[in-house]
């Protein structure tokens, strides 16, 4: 159950992060081609130097021969005048160079625009990456928080389970004791009466049977003993009778002998 909750929470966080993320496109065509993106160090410096050099080429490309001077005053004006003269005079000779300069200048300007656009795209992507990382960190933090909560919830659940078990046991014991007491009280008399009655009957029957059996055996033993005594008495009587008859016969013989002698 806890796992499901954690999983649902993670899924929710993932969907929120996806919803908050910028579209995949890194190009920002509305920005000026030469505007450097803030915070993009080496690329932006190179583009700035290129912009400065293009200012020089832009200023110089129609001035061939040069119409500028380092001199001052009249000398400078003279010089410039001469150069203008020479410029017109040498136009047939310099126009090709001027055209080349112009083309080079414009090509470099176009390259600068393209690079600036790319630089902006990179800056945007970097910003998006940072934002994504921020969101990731937030999500991770939230995930950690959720995990901690889940662990706490699991621990709580375990405690609750243990508590439940102990409560269950104690309740069961109490219930059992109560039931036992109740049963003991309520059924004791009934059970006692019925069991006592049945046991007494069984005991009486068992004892009666045992006593009857013993009495039968004793009676049998007595019968056999009496029979033996009776037989022995008969034998003794027979022996005595024989002895008596023997004695009588001897006496008779003696009497006859005495009478004969007499």
């Amino acid at each position: 159950m806890v796992d499901h909750e954690v999983e649902n929470t993670l899924r929710e966080i993932r969907e929120r992060v996806r919803a908050a993320a910028p579209p995949d496109t890194a190009v920002a065509p509305s920005q000026p081609p030469h505007a450097p993106a803030a915070g993009h160090g080496a690329g932006f410096e190179a583009l700035a130097r290129m912009e400065a050099n293009l200012a020089t080429t832009e200023r110089a490309w129609p001035r061939l021969p040069p119409v500028l001077s380092y001199r001052r005053g009249a000398a400078a004006r003279l010089e410039l005048w001469l150069k203008r003269l020479i410029k017109r005079a040498l136009h047939w000779f310099t126009w090709e160079q001027v055209n080349f300069n112009s083309a080079a200048h414009h090509a470099l300007r176009d390259a600068l625009s393209a690079l600036s656009a790319h630089e902006r795209l990179l800056a945007d992507a970097f910003s998006a990456l940072l934002a994504h990382e921020r969101l990731n960190a937030e999500a991770r933090a939230e995930l950690d928080s959720l995990r901690r909560r889940a662990e706490a919830a699991a621990a709580d659940l375990a405690r609750l389970n243990a508590l439940h078990e102990s409560l269950h046991d104690s309740l069961r014991a109490e219930l059992r004791a109560e039931l036992r007491a109740e049963l003991h009280d309520s059924l004791r008399a009934e059970l006692y009466d019925s069991l006592h009655g049945s046991l007494r009957a069984e005991l009486r029957a068992g004892l009666g049977a045992e006593l009857r059996e013993r009495a039968e055996r004793l009676a049998e033993e007595q019968r056999v003993c009496f029979r033996q005594l009776s037989l022995e008495a008969t034998e003794t009587a027979v022996t005595h009778d024989r002895a008596r008859r023997l004695v009588e016969a001897r006496l008779e013989r003696l009497e006859k002998q005495v009478m004969g002698d007499g």
Binding site: E221, V224, Q228, L231, E235
Partner: protein, 445 residues
Amino acid sequence: MPSSHDSLYRRAGIEDVAEFYRTKFTSDEVLDARYFRALDRFDIRFARTMWVYDNVRAGASVLDLGCGAGMLALLKRKGVTLVGIDLSAECARAARRNGYDLAAAAELSRLPFPDRSFDYVASLDALGHVEAEEKDAVLAEVRRVLRPGGTTLHGIEAVDRRALKSYEEMTPEELRRFVEVDGHVGLEEEQEHAARFRRFFAHVAWEPRYTLCLSAEEFVKQADRYGLPFEADFVEYLRGLSAAERRAFDMAMGYVFGKISDLHVRLPKGGLYVLVKASDAPLGPFYNEHRDRRALFAPAASAPPADSFCLDRDPRAAFDDGWYEPNLLPPVARWMKRRARVRFRSPRVTSVRLDLTTHMPDVASRPLGLELLLNGAPLASFSLFRHGWLELRADVPEGLTTAGDCELELRATRTWRPRPDDPVSRDDRELSIAVCNLEIFQERG
């Protein structure tokens, strides 16, 4: 039996001497002469009894000192008047039960009889239980109650002082262990016994006996309890014998004992037992002075002239070796093995009646099958499934028997042994049923 309660008995821790002898020597053994089997004259257990039997005149009066359960009951076969005296009243009752004409509890040194009352005064295994200081008083009483010319016959336990310490040398524990075995407080050397008799009688003869022949049980007891140096493997062999084997051994020993007597072979001093014969009159032969054993055997075949007769005590009935000696259950009954027979004579048996029982423990779950046969023909076949006594009567079909010799046979399907492993009272006899009151109904011849 002893006649005083003091000194050695007390030193041995025996306060109630009569009770000591009651527990030692009272048993349910039936010694009644009417139940004696002639074959048992060879049993070494009856060797001393037979010595007295063969030395007593028929019809005489005999006093048995220390009669116990009645080892001299067989003398009744010679028609003697038999009187017994014992320290234990219960032993005296057992002697009366076994056929003594009179038996009473009294001290041997104060016999409750007038002077010159008996032709013979005998004792077996009694004077070894009388302390030396009291023996003269006992012998004086013996002399007093003997008729002139009377003879006194004694079987006395003896000792070899070279092998056994004197009572004075024994420690209290040694004395207790020694006396506890049999109650011997009056053991003396064989010649000391003879010398003591000479002080009271003019003629004394004595023979050391049991030097060679002992029962299997006695061999084991002498080795175990008295430390006699018999060969250990022989004693171990005897210890392992079954009841039937012990019986055979005892019969062989008794036979040799009897032949030594018959041949008057003088044995060397044994230190175990001495037979003493004394009188003021000149003595006859030491052995067989009045030998007449006819009364031990069945009389010449003759049928009793009655409608019925009981085989149990009838001298004409011959019980074979399928029967054990009778026991007092009560009543007196004979245990039988798996098969037992009894032979008798009758003009014509019409029916047979008997009482039987078994102590077989599992007879309720495994009924014991029994068969009764007369002259080999079955009379009855039945199963015994309870303890207690059963009366059985079987009529004999006409034509089954012929006049004359008859043989009644009982067969059982199995046997049991009461106490085969009890080290104290081992009884490994193979028993089936006990039978008594075996009556034969007949037509008068």
